[in-house]
C-alpha cells in the first residue's frame, strides 16, 4: 500500500523506486524470459559454429579466418563464447529473470496453496467455467448424495459450515500448484553449482609412468598446480579386442599424503579415484617411446661359449662373460640415417633402433653395436658376441584427467529436484470440487456443482461429467436403478466395436 502512495506523488519524475519497480516488472515478465532464452540459444549455437579457442589449435584458427576477422572474433569473445564475460552476464540475467518471474507469481500461487478457496461465493459460482446444476428436493439429501459420489471417486470431502449454508469441498494434489517453482528452483540450484565450479573448480592433466609419483598437475593453460598430496602409479595396462581397438585401460593408483599411503584403487575409464574432492580419471594410455626392457640372444663368436639370453634395461650393465659387458647407449623409436649420423624422426614406435656398447675389459675394446645393423656406423662385426634381438618393450604411461568440482553436488541435487518438479508439472493435477445447495429465482432447489483443474482441463471435464452423473445416480431411489441397467449397457457396445 505504502508503495503505491509513493508512486502517486511522483508521477512525472522517475524516482529511484519507480525505476527499481519498472526494472523488476521487466525482469519478471515472460517476454523478457523468452527473449533471454532466444539470446542464449543464438549465442550458444554461434559457439558450435565458430571455432573455439582452447580446443582449436592457433594454426587452425589462423587457417580458418582472415587475420582481421580473427581479431574481431577474439575481441568480441566469440572465439570462446561460453567463457566470455558477456555470456556469463547473460546467464546471470537469465537467473535473475527466473528469480524475478518466480517471486512475482509466487504470492498468488502460495495463496492458492496455503489458503484453498473452499467456500465459493456467488461471483465465483457465476464465472467458474466448469459447473453443473443438479435439481434436488431436499438440501440434506442432496449433500449426502454428493458425499457418496465423492467417496465413489476416492476423494475425501469436507463440509464447510457458513452462517447461511452448508457446502462441500474436496481436492487432490494441491502440491501441484508449487511444481513450477520447484522446477525453477532446481534450475537455479544447477546454475549455482556451475558458478561454484566456475569459481573454485579446476581441471588438469597428470601423466605417470609405472613406479613414478607426482603431485604436479598440468593445467589447461600450461601452468602447474601442486596438490597437497601426491599420486603414485603402481602399474598400468591396456587390454585390446582382437582387432586391436582398446577395450580397457586400467591404472593402479595410490595416494601418498604426508609420506603415508592413505588410499589406493585400480581405476578404469568411467570409474575414477576420489581423494579430498579431487578426482582422478583414466583418460588415456600410451607408450612413452622410451625403452623399458630389451631381451637379446647373445651368441659368442668363439666356439667354446654358450648362447644365452640376456635382458637389458636402460642404465643397466650386464656381463656376457667374465670379460665382456654390454649396455644400452641409446634407444631411438623412429630412426633415420643422414650424412653418417643417426637421427630420431619422431617419438612413435615406427622404426626403432638400439645402440648398444659392448666392452671387453682385457684389451679395453669398445664396440658400437647397432640393432638393426646400420652400415657405416655399426661395428657389429668387431663384437665378440652376436646379439640377436628377441623382444623389445617400451615404457608405458597412463594419462589421468584431474578435476576438482566442488559445485557438482548442487548440480546433481538440482537435476533430481528438476525431475521431481517436472513430474509434478506435467503429471500431477490439482483438482478441486465444490458442491453448494442453491435456490434459483423460482425457488427450485438445486445443487451447484463446480470443478477446476490447473492443467489437462479436457480430461478433467470428462471426470467432472462422470462426477455429476454419479451424484444424479446417488440421488435416484434404489428401485429405479434396476430399470436403468439396459440404458447403462449401451455405451459399452460402442466401445467394444474398436
Amino acid at each position: 500500500m505504502h508503495f503505491l502512495e509513493v508512486r502517486k506523488t511522483n508521477v512525472m519524475v522517475p524516482s529511484p523506486r519507480s525505476i527499481i519497480r519498472d526494472t523488476w516488472k521487466t525482469m519478471s515478465s515472460i517476454k523478457t524470459g523468452v527473449i533471454l532464452i532466444i539470446l542464449v540459444v543464438i549465442f550458444s549455437a554461434a559457439g558450435t559454429v565458430i571455432l573455439q579457442r582452447p580446443m582449436t589449435e592457433p594454426d587452425d584458427m589462423a587457417r580458418a579466418y582472415s587475420p582481421g576477422m580473427l581479431r574481431l572474433l577474439d575481441a568480441t569473445g566469440l572465439t570462446d563464447v561460453y567463457h566470455a564475460r558477456w555470456f556469463l552476464a547473460l546467464m546471470t540475467l537469465v537467473s535473475f529473470s527466473i528469480i524475478a518471474a518466480s517471486l512475482e507469481r509466487f504470492p498468488n500461487a502460495w495463496r492458492y496453496f496455503a489458503r484453498p478457496h473452499k467456500s465459493p461465493d456467488e461471483g465465483f459460482r457465476r464465472v467458474l467455467p466448469i459447473q453443473a446444476h443438479v435439481p434436488i428436493t431436499d438440501e440434506e439429501q442432496g449433500l449426502g448424495a454428493a458425499e457418496r459420489a465423492f467417496h465413489h471417486m476416492h476423494l475425501r470431502s469436507e463440509r464447510i459450515v457458513r452462517p447461511d449454508r452448508f457446502s462441500l469441498f474436496a481436492e487432490r494434489n494441491r502440491i501441484s500448484e508449487m511444481a513450477v517453482y520447484i522446477v525453477h528452483a532446481s534450475l537455479l540450484l544447477i546454475f549455482l553449482g556451475a558458478i561454484v565450479d566456475g569459481l573454485y573448480g579446476w581441471r588438469g592433466f597428470l601423466m605417470l609412468t609405472p613406479g613414478s609419483a607426482s603431485n604436479q598437475v598440468e593445467m589447461k593453460n600450461g601452468t602447474n598446480r601442486a596438490l597437497p598430496f601426491s599420486i603414485q602409479c603402481n602399474g598400468t595396462g591396456e587390454e585390446t579386442y582382437t582387432d586391436g581397438t582398446p577395450k580397457r585401460w586400467w591404472s593402479k593408483l595410490a595416494v601418498v599424503d604426508n609420506g603415508r599411503e592413505v588410499s589406493s584403487k585400480e581405476i578404469v575409464v568411467n570409474d575414477p579415484l576420489v581423494y579430498r574432492g579431487v578426482r582422478f580419471y583414466q583418460a588415456s594410455y600410451g607408450r612413452t617411446g622410451k625403452l623399458d626392457r630389451l631381451v637379446l640372444n647373445a651368441i659368442p663368436r668363439n666356439a667354446n661359449g654358450q648362447a644365452h639370453e640376456i635382458s637389458l634395461s636402460p642404465n643397466q650393465i650386464v656381463s656376457l662373460d667374465a670379460d665382456t659387458k654390454v649396455q644400452v647407449a641409446e634407444f631411438i623409436p623412429d630412426f633415420v640415417v643422414q650424412d653418417g649420423h643417426v637421427y630420431a624422426r619422431s617419438n612413435d614406435m615406427v622404426n626403432p633402433a638400439v645402440h648398444l656398447i659392448v666392452t671387453s675389459e682385457q684389451n679395453n675394446k669398445v664396440v658400437n653395436f647397432w640393432l638393426p645393423e646400420i652400415p657405416g656406423i655399426a661395428e657389429n662385426a668387431a663384437s665378440p658376441y652376436i646379439l640377436e634381438p628377441k623382444d623389445l618393450k617400451t615404457g608405458v604411461f597412463t594419462g589421468l584427467e584431474v578435476s576438482h568440482e566442488p559445485g557438482q553436488w548442487a548440480v546433481w541435487a538440482g537435476v533430481v529436484l528438476m525431475a521431481i518438479g517436472l513430474t509434478f508439472v506435467f503429471y500431477v493435477v490439482h483438482v478441486r470440487y465444490w458442491v453448494v445447495p442453491v435456490q434459483d429465482a423460482r425457488g427450485n432447489l438445486a445443487l451447484w456443482v463446480g470443478g477446476s483443474a490447473n492443467r489437462n482441463r479436457d480430461a478433467f471435464e470428462q471426470t467432472f461429467k462422470r462426477f455429476v452423473e454419479q451424484i444424479e445416480k446417488e440421488l435416484k431411489p434404489k428401485f429405479e436403478e434396476a430399470a436403468d441397467k439396459p440404458a447403462a449397457a449401451l455405451p459399452k457396445t460402442t466401445t467394444a466395436g474398436r
Binding site: 515472460i30 524470459g33 523468452v34 532464452i37 532466444i38 542464449v40 540459444v41 550458444s44 549455437a45 559457439g47 558450435t48 559454429v49 573455439q52 561460453y82 556451475a194 581441471r203 579386442y241 582387432d243 581397438t245 582398446p246 577395450k247 580397457r248 585401460w249 578404469v268 575409464v269 568411467n270 570409474d271 575414477p272 578426482r279 580419471y281 583414466q282 583418460a283 584427467e401 584431474v402 578435476s403 568440482e405 557438482q408 548440480v411 546433481w412 537435476v415 528438476m418 525431475a419 517436472l422 513430474t423 506435467f426 492443467r455 479436457d458
Partner: protein, 465 residues
C-alpha cells in the same frame, strides 16, 4: 462418400498407389540383395528384412487408408505393424545378445532402436488416442530407417573404454524415446495444420523449401564437369578410406552431378511456379506447380535409383589420390536419407492435395490434435531433461566434467530451451493452435539438427554417435 470421390479421381488415385507399390518393390529388391549376399537364414539381416516387409505392408495399407478411407485397411495395417514390431524386437534382442550390450553404440544400432520405438509409439497413438492416420507418416519413416540399416555397416563394433557404461545405455534410451516423442509431436502438429484449414499451397511451399534445401545440401558434393563426390569405401577392411586422421577420401562418380543438378531444378520448379502464381495472381501457375511436384517425384526417384546403381557397381577416380576406388551406400547414409526423405515429403503433399477432404474427415478435430501435440511434448520434455542429465552424469564419470560445451551437448541444451520456450508460451501466455503448432515443428527441426546435423557438420566428443 469416399468411394464416390475415388471414382471421381480414378487416374490420380491409381497413379499414387502404383507409385507407392513401385517404390516398395524397389526397396524390397535392395533388401533382398543383402539377404542373398549374407547367406545364412536366421540372421539379423533376415529379421530386419522381415520387419521391412511388414512395415512396408503396414505403410502401404496406412497410405491406402489415407487415400481411400477404407476403414478395414486400418485393422490389417496395425496387424502388420504388430508383426513388424515383433520381428523388430527379435532383431534388437539378437543384436543385444551378439554384441553383449544394448544396441545403442553406433548409428546402425541407434536406428534399430529408433525404428522400434517409432513403431511402438505408432501403435500407442493409434490405440490410445485414436489417431489412425499417424501410420501414414510414421511407417514410411520406419521403412526408410530399416532400409538405411541394410546399407550401413552392421558388424558388432567393440566398445571403446569410454562407452562401457550403463549410463550410456540410460542416456541413449532416453534420447531415442525423447526424439521419437518429438517426431510424433511434429506429425501431430502437421495434422493440426491440416485440420486448422491451413491452405494446401502453404504445404506446397513447406515441402518445396524442404526438398530444395535437401538438394542444395546434396549439391555441395557437385564436382566440376558434372561429377558427384562420395566417400570411398575399402571393402577389405570394411571401413571408409582415410587420407589422414578425420580426412576422408572422396571419389567422383562422373555425370551423376548433372542428374542431381537437373533434379534440383525440378524440385525448385514448384516453388518458382508458386511464387509466379502469387506475383501474377494467376491460379493457372498453381495448377502447374502441382504438376511440377508430380514430375519432381519421378525425377527424384530416378536420382535415387541412379545413385544406388552407380554406387553399387564400379570404382571411381579421385581428385586426391591416384587409382580407382570403390564406394558403398553405407558411406553416404545422409545423402540417401535426404533423397528418400524428399520423395516421401512430396508424396505426402500429393496425398494431401488429392485427398484433403478425406483426410480432414478421418483426422481427429483440430482441438484434439492441439491437445495431443501438447501432451506428446509434455512427455518429450521430461525425457529430454533426463537424457541431458544422464549424459552429463556419464560425461562426469568418463571425462571428469559434467558439461563441456561440446556441440552435441550445446545443441541438446538448445533443443531443451526451445521446448521450454514452447511450454512457457503455452502455459503462461495461453498459446494455442497455429502458433503452438509452428513452435512444435521448429522444435522437431532443432531435434533433427541435433541428431543428424551436429554429427555430420560439427565435430566434437560425440563423434562416434
Amino acid at each position: 462418400m469416399s468411394r464416390a470421390r475415388a471414382e471421381q479421381h480414378p487416374a490420380t488415385g491409381m497413379t499414387l498407389v502404383v507409385m507407392v507399390g513401385l517404390s516398395i518393390a524397389f526397396l524390397l529388391f535392395i533388401a533382398f540383395l543383402n539377404v542373398v549376399k549374407s547367406g545364412d537364414i536366421i540372421s539379423e539381416a533376415n529379421l530386419l528384412y522381415a520387419a521391412l516387409v511388414f512395415y512396408a505392408g503396414a505403410g502401404a495399407l496406412y497410405l491406402g487408408f489415407g487415400v481411400t478411407g477404407t476403414e478395414s485397411y486400418i485393422k490389417f495395417a496395425s496387424l502388420a505393424t504388430w508383426a513388424g514390431l515383433i520381428v523388430n524386437t527379435a532383431a534388437v534382442a539378437h543384436r543385444w545378445y551378439e554384441a553383449g550390450h544394448p544396441p545403442f553404440a553406433s548409428l546402425y544400432e541407434m536406428l534399430l532402436s529408433f525404428v522400434w520405438t517409432l513403431a511402438a509409439l505408432t501403435l500407442v497413438a493409434e490405440k490410445r488416442y485414436g489417431v489412425k492416420v499417424i501410420g501414414t507418416v510414421t511407417m514410411p519413416v520406419a521403412i526408410v530407417g530399416v532400409v538405411l540399416m541394410q546399407l550401413l555397416r552392421s558388424e558388432v563394433h567393440p566398445l571403446v573404454p569410454a562407452l562401457q557404461s550403463t549410463w550410456l545405455h540410460v542416456h541413449v534410451t532416453l534420447a531415442m524415446l525423447a526424439y521419437a516423442a518429438c517426431a510424433l509431436s511434429f506429425a501431430l502438429a502437421m495434422m493440426f495444420l491440416i485440420q486448422d484449414k491451413l491452405k494446401t499451397e502453404s504445404f506446397l511451399v513447406a515441402t518445396s523449401v524442404f526438398t530444395v534445401g535437401i538438394y542444395a545440401a546434396i549439391l555441395t558434393r557437385f564436382e566440376g564437369m558434372g561429377g558427384f563426390n562420395v566417400i570411398a569405401w575399402d571393402p577389405e577392411n570394411k571401413s571408409e578410406v582415410f587420407l589422414a586422421k578425420n580426412v576422408r577420401l572422396f571419389v567422383t562418380i562422373p555425370d551423376l552431378g548433372w542428374l542431381m543438378l537437373l533434379v534440383f531444378a525440378a524440385v525448385a520448379a514448384p516453388l518458382t511456379l508458386y511464387i509466379l502464381a502469387r506475383v501474377r495472381k494467376n491460379d493457372a501457375f498453381l495448377a502447374l506447380a502441382n504438376r511440377a511436384v508430380f514430375i519432381s517425384i519421378l525425377l527424384q526417384s530416378l536420382a535415387l535409383v541412379f545413385l544406388i546403381l552407380r554406387v553399387r557397381d564400379g570404382s571411381y577416380p579421385s581428385l586426391d589420390a591416384e587409382g580407382l576406388y570403390p564406394t558403398a551406400l553405407g558411406t553416404s547414409p545422409f545423402i540417401l536419407a535426404g533423397l528418400v526423405g524428399g520423395i516421401f515429403a512430396n508424396l505426402l503433399y500429393l496425398l494431401l492435395l488429392w485427398r484433403r477432404e478425406d483426410l480432414e474427415r478421418l483426422l481427429p478435430d483440430a482441438d484434439a490434435l492441439d491437445r495431443i501435440t501438447y501432451k506428446t511434448i509434455s512427455i518429450a520434455f521430461p525425457l529430454l531433461t533426463l537424457m541431458i542429465a544422464a549424459g552429463a552424469y556419464w560425461a562426469n564419470k568418463a571425462w571428469g566434467s559434467y558439461w563441456n560445451w561440446d556441440p552435441k551437448e550445446t545443441w541438446a541444451a538448445i533443443t531443451w530451451l526451445v521446448y521450454a520456450g514452447y511450454l512457457h508460451m503455452r502455459i503462461t501466455r495461453g498459446w494455442r493452435g497455429r502458433r503452438a503448432a509452428y513452435f512444435a515443428i521448429l522444435g522437431f527441426g532443432v531435434v533433427m539438427f541435433t541428431f543428424f546435423g551436429v554429427t555430420y557438420l560439427l565435430n566434437g566428443l560425440h563423434s562416434y554417435a
